[in-house]
Symmetry: C2
Subunit: 238 residues, 2 copies
DNA sequence: TGAGTTTGTTTATAAGAGAAACTATGTCAG
DNA sequence: CTGACATAGTTTCTCTTATAAACAAACTCA
């Protein structure tokens, strides 16, 4: 029955256990509105565009009013993260490999849609309802395997970390090819770098730079890496 | 011969291609001193302790003087990252699996010694001399395999991302067990969370939370995950 | 109706990033 | 040897941000 007392305020806000106080001046705002406004800002201007003053202005209030709802900016980020994750899609978890692949793909799509999610440093174990819902799907996929709990956690870490990392990387590369002016700057940067990475000091890397890897679409790389990890899991989980 | 002209200033600073100007007032500082001072601060106070005013004070100069050497704070962070990586240890790269494992372990040690390295968001492809030296070691390990260049890059991404992620995670857990007062707070937090993660909504996660995973040392998990990834690479690389 | 409570605002502080103008100190050409 | 020029470091200034403290406004309930 989750007694609402004894639950830290931070968790209560994460799980939406607010319950409007019936004493005192009635609230015009609530946590959800604040978080939604912040997310809209992040969707438009990226994480750097999210500041308490800006969120407040978007809502038509002063910065300080937000502190009645979020405690600190870091907490706002945590709330944004959980709300931004949203409810995971329905995934068939009867076969661990297909389940995990679908899970990874869904996360990838999500990160592509909300790049700023990656920018929020995850501090602490998963604790928001959506975060845990995602975790539940992955754990459900692994339920049939003979992995121990710590091993399952390890698998989640590898897989989740990979998706994050992969999206972040392909994002950076895409930015490089973004605008015309920046593209040429990036090209020049690459050429200058190539002159510094000489074959005598860095033989393999020099070969790599000579192979025009950084021009290929990163989609195949993602699939390759994912399969690699799934193979690794297969070796451990049977 | 790496013509120093045409190389962007940022790269020139990263690679130490300064060459003291022989015209005008002689410099009392240089990039290396600034970066060293910043790293000392980071080693002591973490990344949050690194601000331009503080670095400048540590050197006995004003904040603004630093801009003669680093361009922006982000660039300072990039310089710190490369310098903080340092030269990779000598690693036997004749067998890819042993080579990669040693590479991963070395990175792990490094991150343990300089946790703030993980906090610096890596923006853009590897471009500093040390960063590239590390990459060279990993690529050298993979030289004997039949992987394509994009596949090799994929392997590096998975492995490097995993080490980062793993260290970051174990670090967070260690912080949780840090001080006495915080430990109890953390415990209470965990108990409260456990009441929210009910078996009806999150059956697998509830079981996980009931298994006291978060008390185990994370070292085994690291080895497990690493082996898993190496197995995956083996499946792809022969 | 007034005490207690909650909300939003005002005001203030402290910090940081960075721009612009200025001063100090050197080289070199004549 | 002197002035033009270039480079270094400083001073001063402007924004922007997070957040604390005190306060005013709005509501409930005894």
């Amino acid at each position: 029955m989750t007694r609402q007392d004894e639950v830290p305020a931070e968790l209560r806000r994460l799980w939406g256990l607010a319950g409007p106080a019936r004493l005192g001046r009635p609230a015009e705002l609530d946590v959800a509105s604040v978080v939604t406004a912040a997310i809209e800002l992040a969707d438009r201007d990226g994480l750097a565009g999210v500041t308490l003053p800006k969120v407040a202005k978007a809502l038509g209030f002063t910065s300080m009013s937000l502190y009645r709802y979020v405690g600190s900016k870091d907490e706002l980020l945590a709330l944004m993260r959980d709300a931004g994750l949203g409810t995971p899609p329905l995934i068939d978890t009867s076969h661990w490999r297909d389940g995990l692949r679908a899970w990874a793909d869904a996360q990838r799509d999500l990160y592509a849609r909300r790049p700023w999610l990656i920018g929020i440093p995850l501090s602490g174990p998963p604790s928001g309802p959506h975060e845990i819902a995602w975790m539940e799907v992955a754990l459900a996929s692994l339920a049939g395997t003979r992995l121990s709990w710590p091993e399952k956690v390890g698998v989640l870490g590898v897989l989740g970390g990979y998706v994050r990392h992969s999206v972040q990387l392909s994002r950076e590369m895409a930015e490089g090819r973004g605008e015309q002016s920046q593209a040429s700057a990036e090209r020049e940067y690459g050429r200058a770098l190539a002159t510094l990475v000489t074959a005598d000091r860095f033989p393999e890397t020099a070969k790599l730079f000579g192979s025009a890897v950084f021009a290929t679409p990163a989609n195949d790389d993602y699939t390759f890496g994912l399969d690699m990890i799934l193979d690794g899991i297969a070796a451990a989980a049977g």
